[in-house]
Structure formats: C-alpha cells, structure tokens
Symmetry: none
C-alpha cells in the first residue's frame, strides 16, 4: 500500500499565513502518519525549520514580511537542501517560473486538492530519496497505476482517464480495501472550497466503472457500492 517504506515518519513543515490552510495540510499529513509542524510567518518558518529539521517543506509564496523566496534563500544559506514545494495564487504565472528557477522542487496553485498535494510531496520525496527514481506503481487486482507515467491498465488493456477520474481512482487505490464515503472522496480529490454538494462523486464513479469494466468478456467489477455508506475498490469479495 505504501510506495516507499521508511521506518521513521516523514517530517513536514507547512508555511502559510492563512492558518486554516496550513492546518489543513498539516492535518492531512498527520492522518497519513507523518509528523507535521506549521508556521504562519516567514520568521517563524525559519525558526521552526532550524529546530524541527523537516524532510520536506510546503511553502506559500505570499507571506507577509519575509516572503516565500526569502525563506527559501535563507534556508539554502544555512546549507539546508531540504526539498520545497511552493503554493501560489491562481494567476501568478510569473511566480511559477520564478519559483522553479529559484530552487523549488514543485509548485501547486491554490486552491488545490489535498490528494494532489500529498501526491506531489510523495513524488518529490521519492525523487530525493533514491538515486534512481524507483517507480511508484499502485496495484489492486489486475488494475495498475503508474504514478510516473500516469498509465493505468486493467490487465493489459490501457485505460484513458480524464484528470478527475484519475485522481478519484488513485485515491480509491491508495486506500483500498478501505471503504470511503462520498464525502471523503469529495474532500480529498476536489479543491478545498468546492461548493458542489451534488452527485459529482457518483457520476465520476459511474464513468470510471464503465471504463474499468468495459471489457468484452466480463472482468469482475472492481468498484463496489456499499449502500448507505460509500465506495470501495477491491477485487471480488467472494
């Protein structure tokens, strides 16, 4: 189920001047079994980094006082090579390029979906950890998902998924064989702040099912409905 086995917990520092966002990320990370610490200002971020020694940093670019780049520069000035993932506002296209050229390892545009952030963090960690990047391939039954190439296969058949379908499926695969509620799926895969209290999840699942199972001779369905509760991805439950 996990992509890389480290015995110690990943240590994450989250820097965002918007406490709810920072806490959101920290909470998610904790539920993944990581250790997470938050900072709401650039100064605080540097202090925390010094004492906490994070393995990875999530860094908002728009901070009051010392801004994101400043924080990064000073981190580097200390000789810390800790990987950094930037958060930026929607329209700051300039920020993106600048961010990457100035030593960030990845970036994400706000508002983001928590699963996507976690996925990127795992990718960055994976890249930094091993010399040759070990592929991360999720597998449930005869279904495989290669997170590097984004190839998804049912047996040998290559599936073509839309971005949303891909994300939902990844979440289902990562949590398999746990049953997930629609609310959980919505909360993890859609951007925070998404209003739609609708049946989007049902719909995407429906579309996913069709693609997963559209085989000529029936492979048994992989996505199961748990009525009154949610969905699971797993192989035939006898």
């Amino acid at each position: 189920m996990q992509h890389y086995e480290r015995v110690e917990k990943v240590r994450l520092l989250v820097v965002d001047d918007d406490p709810p966002i920072a806490d959101l990320v920290a909470t998610v990370a904790r539920y993944e079994g990581w250790e997470a610490v938050t900072a709401y200002t650039g100064e605080d971020a540097l202090r925390r980094a010094a004492e906490f020694h994070p393995d990875i940093v999530v860094l908002d670019l728009m901070l009051p006082g010392v801004d994101g780049f400043g924080v990064l520069d000073r981190l580097r000035a200390f000789g810390t090579m800790v990987p950094v993932v930037f958060l930026t506002a929607r329209d700051g296209v300039a920020d993106r390029v600048a961010g990457l050229t100035r030593g960030g390892d990845d970036y994400l545009v706000k508002p983001f979906a928590v699963e996507e952030l976690m996925a990127r963090l795992r990718t960055v960690l994976r890249r930094c950890a091993g010399p040759a990047f070990q592929r991360s391939v999720l597998r449930v039954g005869d279904l495989t998902m290669d997170e590097d190439t984004r190839e998804v296969r049912r047996g040998a058949r290559l599936l073509s998924l839309t971005p949303t379908e891909y994300e939902v499926l990844r979440y289902l695969m990562r949590k398999s064989p746990t049953v997930l509620t629609k609310a959980q799926i919505l909360d993890h895969v859609w951007e925070y702040g998404f209003g739609g209290r609708s049946n989007v999840v049902e719909l995407v699942v429906s579309r996913l099912r069709r693609k997963l199972d559209e085989t000529d001779e029936g492979g048994s369905p992989l996505i199961h409905t748990v009525r009154g509760f949610g969905y699971v991805l797993r192989q035939a439950a006898e």
Copy 2:
C-alpha cells in the same frame, strides 16, 4: 496522543451550547472509560482546552458568542493540533464544514446516533495514532467485523448487512458478552430523539439473526434473547 494502546484514558472535550447534548456525549464517553469534560460556550471551551489538554474534541459549530470556527481557529493558534469532530445542524453550515473536514477530521449531522459518534471518534484517534494503517477488527466467536472494509464474516462466509444492521451488530459485538436492553440499543444506535416507540430493535435483530445463522448446517446461534430484559451476543449460551 501517541500510541493507540494507551494505558491512560482518552481525554475528550465536548463543546455544545445545548447542555443535554453535551452531557449525553460526555456520559457515554465516560461509560466507555474515557475522561470527558463539557463546555457550553466558546470561551469556556478555550479555557477547558487550555487546562484539560484533550486528546480529541467534539465541537458544535453553532455556538453563541465565539462560534465553532472561532474556537477552532484559536485552538489552532495555540499550536494545538488536537483532532476535532464537528457537529452541525442538518442544513446551513454543512457546506462550510466540508472545507474543515478535509484533513481527516470528521463531522456529524445533528441529530446523530451516539454509537456513530463514538465510532468516528475512535477512528480519528486510531488514525492519529501512527502509521495510519492498523485495522480495527472486532471478533466474537467465529464472527468478525472489519471496521475499515466493513466486511462482516461468519467464519469464512461473507455477510451483506444494511447500515442499520451493521450498526446494531457492531454495538452488540463491542459490548459482548454484556446483555443489552432494547432501550440501550435504541438509544445508542438510533438518533437521539427518535420517535419510534416500536419494535424496530426486535425487527433488526430478527433480520440479523437470519443473516448470521442462515448457514446450511447449523452453526450455533450467536444472538441470544434474555427474556424480559434484552439481547446478548456471545458464543455458547447455557
């Protein structure tokens, strides 16, 4: 809150401006062997949190004065990363809650069933405890219930239960081998304020029995009637 096999009692803070509700939750928690403290206002909640250091918080969002969100913000501002389970009214705020629950914190809509609340609290605690992958499996005789996959088995045979049946069975299993009255079952599994002064419990038990025992050659029945009192779940009755 570090390890799940904690010797110390779980410390729970319940915040609800409706004293009967808060006390109800606190009482049930104490009955489970937890330490529970109640607060009826936001200010009080912050005070109690500061001195009591809870492991988990149940927080009603509609509070007079400082509301639920305010309480949460200030808790977080202190650096407390204590997990929170929110309570909200049926309509209205539910949307805004969504944003807060993404992390893995959870929420419940009023009126809720006490057992469901306790189940979610246990889940959240379990997930915080560490590498988030430890399963919670209940077992009574040859009957097992996996709370993550929601799989229930009698021996090897997989049972398919409706949500209500599942909840009743879980309660019976958790309390086994204690005898429970119909009133207890009703009070714990159905929403507080449920009107039906009827024989629902009998009915669900009846349906459960059929599913549990429908084996070809008789596995001995697991649910036993204690006439004039209630029901027990246990292996051999004498």
